[in-house]
Subunit: 443 residues, 2 copies
Amino acid sequence: MAEEIARTASLSSSAIRSLSNDARVTALNRIADALRAGKDQILTANRTDLEIAEKTGVATPLIKRLDLSKGDKFDTMVQGVLDVANLPDPIGKVTFANKLDDGLDLYRVTCPIGVLLVIFESRPEVIANITALAIKSGNAVILKGGKESFHSFAAISNIVRDTLAKTDIPSGAVQLIESRQEVSDLLKQDQYIDLVVPRGSNELVRSIKDNTKIPVLGHADGICSLYINADADVSMAARLAVDSKTNYVAACNAIESLLVQRSGLESHLPAVAKALIAAGVTLKVTPEIATALDAVGVDTGGQEGRRVVVPADEQDFATEFLSLTIAVRAVSDVDEAIRHINTHSSKHTDTIVTSSQAVAEKFLNGVDSSGVFWNASTRFADGFRYGFGTEVGISTSKIHARGPVGLEGLTCYQYQLRGSGQIAADYVGAGGQKEFLHEQINI
Amino acid sequence: MAEEIARTASLSSSAIRSLSNDARVTALNRIADALRAGKDQILTANRTDLEIAEKTGVATPLIKRLDLSKGDKFDTMVQGVLDVANLPDPIGKVTFANKLDDGLDLYRVTCPIGVLLVIFESRPEVIANITALAIKSGNAVILKGGKESFHSFAAISNIVRDTLAKTDIPSGAVQLIESRQEVSDLLKQDQYIDLVVPRGSNELVRSIKDNTKIPVLGHADGICSLYINADADVSMAARLAVDSKTNYVAACNAIESLLVQRSGLESHLPAVAKALIAAGVTLKVTPEIATALDAVGVDTGGQEGRRVVVPADEQDFATEFLSLTIAVRAVSDVDEAIRHINTHSSKHTDTIVTSSQAVAEKFLNGVDSSGVFWNASTRFADGFRYGFGTEVGISTSKIHARGPVGLEGLTCYQYQLRGSGQIAADYVGAGGQKEFLHEQINI
């Protein structure tokens, strides 16, 4: 069963990969039309999901997220398909070209990856977005969404398949699966599936990495730091710390650690600590930080009954709190900050506040994270804010795609060599005398 | 022990990543000097390896490959280090830049991957090449070479470490390990090691993929095909088939399958089959091909006692013979050729012979292999022939780096955001009203 699904996807991938951007855009436009026409059908299925969720005691905030009839959610979903359709074509871009010899031209051209297995959360509108991303990038996709929206997913997926049947894209290019067992079986189909994209909890990503040989594009922890160099503008440091920590505490690009240059403990720490405390943050601090805060009269004993400054242990500097808690310590300088971050962070996004360009450049080049920022909130680490038009996900991998991943992350490349009958045996290195030209071709 | 090695590499990686190209080139120049100065020491260690190999009955061709004193092998090894040093710097290249707002500029910049674990064969000169590749690309590397050259490796590695101790590069950036057990333990260190590069047999690559969560850059099978469209120049088709098959049969870019358009069985097959047979190749053919060859009097019974045309079974079209054997079948047209290749090949390199640009473009865009060629031998699929200056290895992965991999394959990228105190909460999507500019910055 899993093998059949994977093989169907692989065969469909072989067909969709050579379709023009026009053909892919036409299909997406038709899908958008069909979704609009099928609104009643989809919302009926969505009500079934909502009823089941209520009966089985799903928490109210989650139920709200499942409801596709709320506000302009449905129209936004359809518009999202059209937005992806209208992005520049990520396929067929020449990224390198080299004339090996007269009449023997090498081109490196972007192409689809092949077959994607995308595992995602329960928000029903997400399936339309992922379908659009896959088709726009010429990939076949196998979809598994959170079970709470299964009826909504099935209704949307049926419309997608029926629509594709009337286009050049084989309907096997988009397949929906239902059970966790199927996911588990599909993770063994490394012969057919080229990339797994899990969008969900860290546990999900780790469990998938543990159980497959297929490459995984995913996001494990988001342990981000903000480092304040002693020459930083104090109010900027406070503002950036508060935004990076509190703008959305559950986000992977929120900071979990605050590093302050030792020589700035008097000049910078008090204002920053007070701003964080005022924003409701609890500080987990080293003894050195506690002493510094005591010295300037920051109330470390409690505020309206809440203890806002508590002792930190070493593990706190490698913890993703995902709450209004931050670990705080001093470092001697930017070099120690870099070492601390490269050792403790999850290599997601880290920022420095400094007025010195030289110190900033040292930080940007020294920190081994997918996002390295200077005088900016870590919360900007996001595909939409980066201007990608869409976000496939966030990657904490060190290869292929890092950080916020746009459509490009669903492409790879192939080498196209256009010759006129040349054989290797005529050239040096393979028995012959001819030398290669190796002249760069202007793209 | 393995964890200590991996952590040392990780710490060293944090230091080497921010060094300038000048610092890396200086280190490589010093290594080249030190290798030249240590020639006697290295050749003495190499003789120890040769003596052990002779005593333990290692095959003569392998012993020849172990001998570093042969011809100009030593000088070539040293020159190889200088050649890599002089390649363009792969680090710090801006590949995307976007103005998010005034004073908030995003740059995507190439950077080292981090820590590499490279497992390679017994040729003693290879360790110098891999060391050079790692240092040039700003990565730390853990090296494991074939045990037959252990003393040579140790001598070279000691010189490298002693030399690095006198440079800005920490000597922990290049570490040599000895045993398979250490490899096995290191494969568990996914916290510290970012990429495994196995250069060796397919079995090695598969076994490593089975035993690690770390991404693997490697090369499994090389099942390549040549497809002859019926409008092809017949003598070109024969020449390309012979070169692709026989120029070096043990190479991964040699063809294992020959596909002939059905309408070309009379016009093209006989000349191509005769040329292959004359070059010593055995054809494993479908009944349809056998009948076609019989009809034109190709001796399918044997030639000087050797049966040169034998029946093929389905499995032969998914087999890497690595010998003077080729599987041959007919297909109705380029579409069937594409489907056959996408289903049976290892997605390495496939070539079409045709005089039609339209047919060729269909093939180039439809075949899902890292190399897709038109009127050229598959044997050109090689980093040196492609003009990369050096080859890290060949990848059959569908993500990160595909096909012959140059220095670029040892890099990834990070996003550097240079701001002036901006916080996300001021912008749309995070609570504010400010719109992003998203203006492309000319690189």
